[in-house]
Point group: C2
Chain length 209, copies 2
């Protein structure tokens, strides 16, 4: 299913809807108005109506949204109707933190292995997932149909990992290293540039004084 | 200095300019055209001219941008001309990963202590910074003029930390817990919601098939 007509700005808001709708479902709340949704999610009711209009008529005048339908539709749009095999490269603190997030697994991101070049991590198991030597990286990801690699290496090591990824069948990189990776256009790269985020904190601090 | 007329979208791009300009300075490159800057940073030249026009005439026809002046101006806008005292709450893998990022310190974010409720972390030193008991949180942050708290706790513990922060002089929260914190309006909250980011990866994967 393609949704090319939905803007990236809307897409980046969908995970938040997904998260809140799950909470409503967990509380057995079955329908909700855009106004109520607005009060819990923080977007304006008009923003919510506009966003959700992008994928069909889930809202009905006087009824509101069917929470389950909306949740299931957003799950579909976000590609959460199937599993993704995943590995982590970099078994330091950050890699271990990600390996311990059980919520990723629950959403369908199946962690198959971790990789590092540091002998001290070899054989270590984090949350039942073993740390393997980078020597085995290419063969492992191809044999295990790994689609996503989380890069948790230092800045210095990240491009080398990206280069090796490009020789495999991996399709996407979730990059935590503070560098913009150079990869072929057909590989999806999503960056978590922590420093960029922290610098908006200092900006807002300065502005608020 | 207030820059209320600069849009948040521009502000969120500034850290990337800041990062690339620093690299240019490190290579002793003193001036650069918007076209060259475009080729390394990935924004269009017209986007770059538009962004940088927001804060004065650093670009000159036929000369380009003075890298040092531009870097120093962007540093000023991002509030990087002074230091910020910082603590981390949550001394697990993520908290330890952040404590080990020396680049935060170099930019002026001075990590003063880490806090946890788990006895196993007490007295531990990460990168020369000690883990203290949460009992000492309020007195420590007020006595040490802490302005920013990085919240690296579980989802369950995060709101409690936010509640305690509101009784101190802390001004900003950098939140890594997968929850939207409820705080008074005068406290700045910047979220790193990893799951939201990961779900855009699965979206793009689905779209690319």
């Amino acid at each position: 299913m393609k949704d090319k007509n939905i803007s990236v700005a809307v897409i980046r808001r969908l995970p938040k809807y997904h998260r809140y709708l799950k909470e409503l479902l967990d509380k057995d709340i079955r329908r909700i108005s855009s106004k109520e949704l607005s009060s819990i999610i923080g977007f304006t009711a008009s923003q919510i109506r506009q966003d959700l209009n992008n994928f069909g008529g889930f809202g009905q005048q006087g009824y509101g949204y069917n929470v389950e339908d909306l949740y299931s539709e957003i799950s579909k749009i976000l590609g959460l109707t199937r599993k993704y095999n995943v590995v982590i490269v970099g078994a330091g603190n950050l890699g271990q933190a990600l390996a311990n997030y059980t919520s990723f697994g629950r959403l369908g991101f199946d962690l198959k292995a971790m990789f590092d070049i540091n002998p001290k991590f070899m054989g270590l198991k984090i949350n039942d997932v073993e740390v393997l030597d980078m020597d085995k990286f290419e063969s492992f990801v191809n044999e295990n149909d790994v689609e996503i690699v989380y890069i948790c290496t230092s800045r210095a090591g990240a491009q080398d990992v990206a280069d090796r990824i490009q020789k495999t069948n991996v399709k996407a990189i979730w990059n935590f290293a503070p560098i913009d990776l150079k990869v072929k256009e057909d590989i999806i790269v999503e960056n978590v540039h922590l420093i960029d985020n922290l610098l908006t904190v200092s900006y807002f601090l300065k502005e608020n004084l």
